[in-house]
Subunit: 223 residues, 2 copies
């Protein structure tokens, strides 16, 4: 949710810290003082402070008075909560999109994202697959046109990113998931509102079940 009023350094601090958190360079639980973050980023405390405030609003860090900022871990309950919201929002959005009977041309960005998932799957490139998966979901919401929903779902994706990447590497290739995206795409192209909603909901619920059972199995209660 890169906001408007972000000047150079403040924006840089925000994006670099966010990237470092997503990529586990700043792992969950990591805690530094403001001067430490400032030194790491090579700037003064002011832009860093502003970036940390935004990251707190994004749910990625927690500002602890007098003790700096802590990278928030994600618990199993957090993942449950996040998936519950996604399961409520995305299928509804997809159904509405389908009801507008979008042309194949309009859905081209979605098809492209889906094809990128297939390519990444064939190449066994899980990172690329995850990027394409994210893109598919984001683009679906872009096409739907509810900007608030897109922004919020994006922040949830960011929060869940680390956990998803870990489980992605722990299990079999995401063939089923890729297939489900194809079905969603085709149902969208056919304008089948009901079907899209059901497939999407089933997709989300299966993803949630699998993710949580993996995390439980490996006793990863904090990520």
């Amino acid at each position: 949710m890169a906001s408007q009023g972000n000047a150079a350094l403040s924006l840089e601090a925000y994006e670099r810290l966010k990237q470092d958190i997503r990529q586990n360079i700043l792992p969950p639980g990591h805690q530094d003082t403001e001067p430490e973050y400032a030194a790491r980023l090579g700037m003064s405390r002011t832009p860093v402070r502003e970036a940390l405030i935004r990251l707190e609003a994004d749910g990625l860090v927690q500002l602890i008075p007098r003790r700096g900022a802590r990278v928030l871990p994600i618990s199993l309950d957090d993942m449950e909560d996040i998936y519950e919201i996604l399961t409520a929002l995305e299928p509804a959005a997809a159904a509405k999109l389908a009801s507008t009977r979008p042309s194949a041309e309009a859905l081209a960005p979605l098809r492209q994202a889906y094809l990128a998932m297939e390519t990444a799957l064939d190449a066994d490139d899980l990172d690329a697959w995850a990027d394409a998966d994210d893109l598919f979901h984001r683009r679906m919401l872009e096409l739907h046109g509810n900007k608030r929903m897109l922004d919020y779902v994006s922040t949830l994706f960011d929060q869940a990113h680390r956990a998803r990447m870990i489980t992605l590497h722990m299990r079999d290739k995401p063939i089923k998931s890729t297939q489900e995206h194809k079905e969603i795409l085709e149902a969208l192209e056919a304008g089948q509102s009901q079907q899209v909603e059901e497939i999407f909901r089933e997709h989300r619920e299966r993803a949630r079940r699998e993710l949580l059972s993996l995390l439980r199995k490996f006793r990863l209660s904090q990520l």
Copy 2:
């Protein structure tokens, strides 16, 4: 979403500005520079700046480089988007809550909020009614226990607050709406998951239709 790392002045700036926006003291479109907000609040630019960053994350103001901060107006499309999200989230949460078969005791906070709505309705106190309505919805989500959902729905309520208050004063007493809350409460007490979901969705969709048609009728495209 009052965050943790808020010191005295910064927190005060955040809350006062938020209140002033909700209560239309700072009307939509209002734009001031940082020094002006600072002077109004009797503090330096620093805590004001931090408050404005948080308010931007809340979707209440827009920071415009070199030109200060503008109180964001809410358009008809914004209201559509907000209600779409609420319609997806709240009924799902209510259904899950019902499926836990909560005791009447557990639902006491909800019943209390509902009774406050009735009292306010009888007293023709629309402001109190709106507060009780807000409280009902918030408490339902508190009981459900998904903190992210509660926080997000709360920020949406804040964004929509002005528009809701305006339409509330333009129409007949919200008898039907109050009645629907009673039905929701009773279905929750009966543990009727499906019914709760349906009633809640119908409640949200009716509220959305009425609100939007009022706004259109009076050509209030920006609030």
